[in-house]
């Protein structure tokens, strides 16, 4: 599976000519350990281990500025998403922590059909395994509560996506 995603990615960004427009366009580049331009080179060379050690793709906020500006018209934001999926296959502690929010989000969607924010955040706290994380959100939670922005989870669409999730899981395991 890991190799498969990497092969597909190599095909998608094979035309990268290393101009660096993506790096110059990235609002989160300052927090990356490897620049987007270097990352595409590493993908072209299939340097899987070095790629997985990097935090670069976890810093992508899907703003699509690099995709807009890429002179080769490459779908670079989509490629960053594929790198996140690639890393999830490896599942080290560091990677699990980085993907904890996405995982909690999708579990919430699977369960409720529509995202229920008041149950999403506790789900994320559990997955992140950081006991201090809830404290970080406490002041915001209080302000949101005061503004009437927090609501008990609604079960209106509960279980509506059960079949879809099961089917997709089955299809992705097959391929």
């Amino acid at each position: 599976m890991t190799r498969e995603i990497l092969e597909e990615l190599r095909g998608e960004i094979g035309a990268c000519m290393q101009c660096g427009t993506c790096t110059a366009s990235c609002p989160n580049g300052f927090a990356m350990d490897i620049t987007p331009r270097q990352m595409w080179r590493m993908v072209q060379f299939g340097m899987l281990d070095r790629i997985l050690e990097s935090r670069t793709f976890w810093m992508c906020s899907s703003c699509y500025m690099c995709t807009l500006r890429c002179p080769r018209g490459l779908k670079l934001t989509r490629a960053m998403g594929a790198l996140k999926r690639l890393a999830r296959q490896r599942g080290t502690w560091k990677i699990r922590k980085n993907s904890a929010f996405y995982d909690a989000f999708m579990e919430n969607v699977e369960k409720y059909g529509r995202v229920q924010e008041t149950s999403l955040m506790p789900g994320y706290f559990l997955k992140s395994r950081d006991p201090l994380l809830p404290l970080h959100y406490l002041p915001l939670g209080v302000r949101m509560m005061r503004a009437g922005k927090l609501h008990a989870p609604s079960s209106a669409q509960k279980g509506r996506l059960k079949e879809l999730f099961a089917k997709v899981r089955e299809m992705e395991e097959e391929s």
């Binding site: 609002p27 989160n28 300052f30 927090a31 976890w58 810093m59 906020s61 899907s62 703003c63 699509y64 500025m65 995709t67 807009l68 779908k75 934001t77 989509r78 998403g81 594929a82 996140k84 999926r85 999830r88 980085n98 993907s99 904890a100 929010f101 996405y102 995982d103 989000f105 999708m106 969607v109 059909g113 529509r114 995202v115 229920q116 924010e117 994320y124 970080h136 002041p139 915001l140 302000r143 949101m144 503004a147 009437g148 922005k149 927090l150 609501h151 609604s154 669409q157 509506r160 996506l161 079949e163 879809l164 999730f165 099961a166 089917k167 997709v168 299809m171 992705e172």
Partner: protein
């Protein structure tokens, strides 16, 4: 005018003021919104990192429902992430035979199928291209009186697909605001990223973006947004010193429209915005910026030079 309405999850949760003001404003403009029956989450930016197929199947499910239950209607999505996810299905799945078949195989598990006939529209697109600025002007009861507003577009309605505005120099929201009698301020942060879900996963990184945007908005009476995540990120951390100590109300464009249309504050839920307090609401009510406080004239001069 009639649309299949896809509010999305945020608009039923922490961003109810967006949902309520969209419905109120559309009603005032004589536009009918019919909720897509049984709609579910589009996957936001969380599906792509988890599952390549789910990333398309989740939004496709909603388009399939609209195609089946509300044939002939475009889908109107106010949220940027919902809009892009739905649009991606039309641009990346429909017309790609293998992927389209796989998505429909997944949808088939619950008896659905998407042929690819539903148009996907963002609310700004509908406002400027279907309704038009003239119709908006006609509806004004109490214009915004030269309120200085910074238009914040965010990312995903502009990029990667150029549909209704220039992704490099967007103007659609400025045009709507001008029609409302506001004075859109020129700035270059309107299409910059707010950090999106990075604010949850790596807040120290996203805070840089938020601080730069808030700093750019200095001197505005408000920032206008059309995305629940942008709105939340820009207002929720104004108390945090890392965000640079800038305080400015972050309002939805549709809330400002509602006020200009003479709707009462409760009908656009102005009390739900955390960046607003009682005195700011009173200021908006009296269009306080029309009357410069004594001594502020010099500041205005300084700002303009």
């Amino acid at each position: 005018m009639k649309y299949a309405y896809y509010p999305g999850c945020s608009l039923q949760e922490s961003a109810r003021e967006f949902d309520v003001s969209v419905r109120a404003v559309m009603d005032a403009l004589g536009v009918e919104l019919i909720d897509i029956p049984d709609w579910t989450c589009c996957g936001a930016s969380a599906a792509e990192p988890v599952s390549a197929l789910m990333n398309y199947a989740l939004p496709a499910r909603n388009l399939a429902l609209a195609e089946q239950e509300l044939p002939g209607l475009d889908v109107l999505a106010p949220c940027s992430a919902c809009y892009l996810n739905l649009l991606k299905v039309n641009r990346e799945v429909v017309g790609t035979r293998n992927l389209h078949a796989r998505v429909n195989e997944a949808l088939g598990a619950s008896g659905l199928n998407y042929r690819g006939t539903v148009g996907v529209r963002h609310i700004l697109d509908v406002l400027i291209n279907d309704i038009g600025l003239e119709a908006i002007k006609e509806r004004i009861v109490n214009d915004l009186g030269e309120m200085r507003v910074s238009s914040y577009y965010g990312c995903q309605i502009l990029r990667p697909y150029e549909v209704f505005d220039d992704p490099r120099h967007p103007v659609s929201m400025d045009n709507v605001l001008s029609a409302l009698g506001a004075k859109p301020l020129p700035w270059d942060m309107g299409n910059k990223c707010c950090g999106a879900s990075l604010m949850v996963t790596h807040p120290e990184v996203a805070m840089h973006s938020v601080a730069a945007i808030l700093e750019g908005a200095e001197g505005s009476d408000a920032v206008a947004t059309v995305c629940p995540l942008c709105q939340m990120n820009l207002e929720a951390y104004q108390h945090d010193s890392a965000a640079g100590g800038h305080h400015v109300p972050i309002l939805y464009l549709t809330q400002l429209m509602g006020l200009a249309f003479g709707l009462e504050e409760p009908s656009v839920l102005l009390d739900k915005n955390m960046s607003m307090d009682g005195s700011m609401r009173a200021g908006i009510r009296s269009r306080a910026w029309r009357h410069e406080a004594p001594g502020e004239g010099d500041e205005t001069l300084a700002r303009e030079t």
